[in-house]
């Protein structure tokens, strides 16, 4: 099918597209998810801050017990590779079973740890605030210093309060 379209028409419409910042995806499965929009969408998954807090929390709990990654993985019956990911990768989304095993091992309420891991939503914003405060206070250093220990213990009590 031959279509007659003038150069002027094409360019006027193209300028309109530029002016409006238009995107023209059509179709059953979104062809063009908007990464910016998704990143700002609070329902798009775990709060990143809590994931940072979760990784640091696990690491500090392990170090407090003077355990290596391998020995914690073995004791808690979880995969070493996943434990490494939890501690090293703030964006890692842990398996529910792993979080359950860690909660059992650390003797903490599973629902609280699930929330910290971003696997379930916290009932109020103060939990996230606590998690962020904990993450901010617990910059990882070689030895568990007093400040870290205080931060860790304060946060453990927050988690326990949420039973």
């Amino acid at each position: 099918m031959k279509i007659e379209v003038t150069k002027d028409w094409c360019i006027r419409m193209a300028r309109l597209e530029v002016e409006t910042g238009a995107d023209m995806g059509i179709g059953g499965a979104p062809a063009v998810a908007n990464p910016d929009a998704v990143a700002l969408d609070p329902s798009s998954g775990s709060m990143p801050e809590t994931n940072i807090a979760f990784g640091r929390f696990v690491r500090l709990m392990r170090r407090k017990r003077r355990q290596t990654v391998e020995s914690l993985a073995e004791d808690a019956e979880i995969d070493v590779a996943e434990l490494v990911e939890i501690e090293e990768d703030n964006h890692h989304r842990p398996e529910p079973r792993t979080v359950y095993q860690l909660a059992k091992h650390f003797d903490l309420p599973t629902p609280s740890l699930m929330q910290l891991a971003g696997l379930s939503a916290a009932k109020n914003a103060s939990f996230y605030a606590e998690a962020i405060r904990f993450a901010a206070r617990s910059e990882t250093v070689e030895d568990l210093n007093d400040i870290e220990r205080a931060a860790l213990e304060a946060f453990v009590s927050v988690l326990n309060d949420r039973k």
Binding site: C10, R12, M13, L16, D23, I26, G27, A31
Partner: protein, 212 residues
């Protein structure tokens, strides 16, 4: 299947200059190869960035699973599902598959035939949400919508078209295209909004590019 070519123009955004392009009334192997070798690596990169930002899998661009090759094979020889594409500088800049067996839903047009835009995708480097300030060509979407309207007229459907828009595209179809928004469609995946263009709205859309 013989494919016919119509000369069109795209706007090169960086230079603000018109660039010669072609509208093809078919999707062939060359377009599928471009999609596989040129579009997908860019989309995969976007996904890698989303993954790094901690965005869960269900929120990633679904076009990763949007298989133009599979669609082209499914629609091969299907009279009801013609495809169109825009080519510029030897590269596929956008693709569209249509369905001619849909009926109009607007009350005044109810039951009348229309051209339904089944899938429309712009090359990732032409999408502001992906390319940011580096968008290469503008005008692809307008030309493809125009092609759907022209086909609708050619088939005697008077320019009526319909489509389910992705959320970020809603303003374009509602405001610039002047289509009627029939709201979120509960029967459609992700409950995308359904838009329809009447013959009069099609006329107005074509006139939009003619007025200075």
């Amino acid at each position: 299947m013989s494919i016919e070519t119509s000369p069109v123009f795209l706007l090169e955004v960086a230079t603000d200059q018109p660039i010669e392009a072609d509208l093809l009334d078919g999707i062939a192997e060359q377009q599928l190869v471009h999609w596989e070798d040129e579009w997908m690596p860019v989309l995969r990169d976007v996904v890698a960035r989303m993954k790094a930002a901690g965005i869960e899998r269900s929120k990633w661009p679904q076009s990763l699973h949007w298989d133009w090759r599979q669609k082209a094979q499914g629609f091969e020889r299907a009279l009801a599902n013609p495809g169109f594409c825009v080519m510029c500088q030897g590269m596929t800049q956008g693709m569209m598959f249509l369905d001619l067996l849909h009926k109009a839903r607007i009350a005044s047009q109810a039951g009348k035939e229309l051209v339904y835009i089944e899938y429309l995708e712009n090359a990732p480097w032409n999408r502001r949400h992906i390319a940011g300030d580096q968008v290469r060509f503008a005008g692809v979407g307008s030309i493809l919508v125009r092609a759907a309207i022209e086909l609708s007229r050619e088939e005697g459907f008077k320019g009526r078209i319909g489509l389910h828009s992705l959320p970020q595209s809603n303003p374009w179809y509602a405001n610039t295209c002047g289509m009627t928004d029939l709201g979120a469609d509960p029967d459609y995946p992700h409950q995308l909004r359904y838009f329809e263009m009447t013959p009069e709205q099609a006329e107005a859309f074509l006139a939009k590019g003619n007025t200075s």
